[in-house]
Structure formats: structure tokens, C-alpha cells
Subunit: 122 residues, 4 copies
């Protein structure tokens, strides 16, 4: 993880544990992958509806607060984490792997800022 | 946040900062919501392909490790966080809100385990 | 169906039969709904990738022909029709129902053209 | 198009014209690709919700008629056709191309029925 800007390193354990604590209360437990995927598709659809509503051709509510958008994103995150938990996947590790992949694959894909530390190093 | 099981409380700041550090290096910066949404749709599609491949009617590779699945989930997470960052949304707060919403709305939706602390308290 | 402009009335029987003829050749037959849905999600993801590629921030190929876009749309249509067939749904009837629904619900939702016949009739 | 079973050949002109007649009434006209895609994502999400509701872990309504499912499929079809129309794509031709592609690519992918005419010919 690149923490050159002094950021907090990514840690998704707490999020995975929170989802597990919630789901673990119920007899049903985790859903199988296809059912979770359908739920994810449903939640992404709700985000799409909201994005068209706020940023589409007939957008009318620029003053609306961000609460609803945040809620849709968090709903998606919940299902995503449920899929990871059900499959025994460590998201912190997976996310780190993706950052590393992007660093290798895309470092020259976009125009780097002149003052980016990576400009010289990568 | 319910930490009765001694779990780490959800904290997504590090993830949001990691995405911001990566995208912040480039002149292009964040994409607008519709473009990010299309990217999210693309990544969810890749997860769907993988889930059908591993758990669908012709699934053939139970022995395959979970690396690819973790990578797809993390790709989705990356775009999700990019949307939140571009919109100035605090995902930790939004995720906490969703957990609270679930606690209120769904606590009687599923059959609670006999030994669940929430069984008596909620 | 409104054929006031002399158009061909919607008829999706041929499309449903073509998909049925194709799938009917194989022992596997139709997939169950969740598997078909995952396939639909995958195909919509491929359309999303293409739309970002052609119309996104870094779009580079305005001269590219429409063949690939048509293929993605037709791939989605194929899965959509497979879901309808598997569930015994008559798409011609369902599509007619949706046109009727739109006519009732949305006829005043958008600004009607001055010369639209519906402007006076509906 | 394979009409060996006496089926109606696929013809999507009427469907494209019906969508064009509907949208053509309004000043707004067609939406741009990203907005249409978001709408498609939203509609696929509604189908996903319904599929989980009818065929998921807690499915409760086997007796429910197919009307709602047909409506969701037709909603998706409407947006799909709107994208094709906006881009000037002939869906009949594109669908024919996909059937041809499947015939070439997948004819040996699945187990063919013993009595399938294609078993000997293809």
C-alpha cells in the first residue's frame, strides 16, 4: 500500500467482521453466490436509478444532500462484503493486490501530474 | 457499530485514501458519475461471468483458488470507492448508517439464532 | 400497438422461436433463472465496457463501425429471450403491455412535440 | 436464420419502430448512451430483485402469475431497443449475426441431442 501521502493503510477487517456479526445472528446465514450476485445487481440498479435522477437529462435536485447516494453505495458494499465473507476471501489482501495490479498495469495509461512523486519513481 | 463480538469497528478511511492517492496522481482525476457507473457495471459483469464459471451448470474448477474471485470483488470495491470519493461521501459513516438501517428494518425478517444476544435485547 | 405511423407491429415470436431452436438442440436445455440472470449481468457489463470505450472520457474511435455495439446488444437480447422462454413468457404480449403502461403513465411526463398526433388525442 | 422447425424468422423492425414512435413524440428524444445504459442497469436490477423474490432462498409465491416477470423483461427490452435506435443499429441484422456466431462458436460446446438435425449437418 502506498502511504506516501500519510493516509491510513486500507484495512477492511472491521467491515468484514461487521457484516459477519450481522448475518451470523440468523439461522439462514450467508446466501449462495448466485443469490448474492442477484442482490448485488439489484443494488447497483438502485444506484443507477439515483445517478440518472441526480445527473441525468432531467436532473432537478442539485441541492439534495448526499445521504441517499451514500446509502446506495453502502448497500452495494454490504453485499460485496457478504460475497467475500461467504467465500472466505480476505478483502484487505485482495484490495492490496488490485492496487498493485493497477500500479503495474496503468501507471502509464493516464497522464501523470508533473508534481506526482510517482512521475519519477514508477 | 455493534462490536459485541470484539471485532474491529468498520473504518473505510484508509481505503478511500488509497484510491484517492492513486487517482490523484493523474491529470484526468475522477470520472463523472455516469462513467464511473458504467465501469461499476462492467466490473459486476466480470464477477457474474466468474460466478457462472465457478458455480454455474457447467462448473468445472472447484479446486481453483480464490484469487480471481477476490480480484473481481476488489475491482468492484475500487470503483465503488471512486464514486464515493468523487461525490465527497464518507463511506464509513454511510456504512454505519446502513448497518443501523438493517438493524431496525430486518431484525425480525429472518429467524434469529437461539443463542444470539440480539434475540433477547433487540 | 400504435401503428399510426405505418410501422410494423411488434412481433417477437420469431426471435423467441430462433432462441428456442438453438437451445433446443442441446441436452442441457435452458438454464435456471439465477444462472440466466448472471449471464445477462455479464452481457450488460460488456455493453458498459464498450460504451465507456466509445463515449467515455478517453473515447478515441468515433470512426469505428457499429458492428461491435450491435453484437453486444444482440447478446443481451439473446439472454433476455432465453429467460422469457425458460419461464414460458410471451414477449410480444409483455412488450405490448409495457407500451400501454408507458402510454398511461408517461404521456405527460415529457414535453410533447407540437405536431405529435398524441398531443390532441391522448 | 435457421427455420428448419418452421418458426417465424426473427424480425425486430416492428419493435424498433414502436419504440421510435413512442420516443419520437417528445421533444427530448433519445437519451445519450451513458444515460440509457444507466437505465438498462436499473431495469436489470429490478429483474434481479424479482428473480431473488421468486426463486431465492425465501421464495414464497410459486402461484404468482408471470405478469410481473414479463413486464420486467419487456422494460429491459424497451431500453435495449432505445439504445439500438439512438445508435442507428438494425437489431434484426445484429441478432442474426449473433445466431451465426453462436452456431460457429458453440456448436460443439454443449452436448447435442441425438435427434437434433444439426447433429449430422453442422
Amino acid at each position: 500500500m502506498d502511504t506516501r501521502d500519510g493516509g491510513v493503510p486500507p484495512d477492511l477487517r472491521g467491515v468484514q467482521e461487521a457484516v459477519d456479526a450481522w448475518i451470523g445472528q440468523f439461522e439462514e446465514g450467508y446466501w449462495p453466490p448466485h443469490v448474492n450476485l442477484a442482490r448485488l445487481t439489484e443494488e447497483v440498479g438502485e444506484l443507477a436509478r439515483l445517478i440518472n435522477h441526480r445527473f441525468g437529462p432531467k436532473a432537478k435536485k442539485p441541492e439534495e444532500d448526499d445521504q441517499e447516494l451514500g446509502e446506495e453505495l453502502a448497500d452495494i458494499l454490504f453485499v460485496l462484503v457478504a460475497i467475500a465473507n461467504e467465500q472466505g476471501i480476505d478483502l484487505t489482501e485482495a484490495f492490496d493486490g488490485v492496487l498493485t495490479k493497477y500500479r503495474r498495469r496503468d501507471s502509464d495509461r493516464w497522464e501523470r501530474k508533473a508534481d506526482s512523486p510517482g512521475g519519477a519513481e514508477d
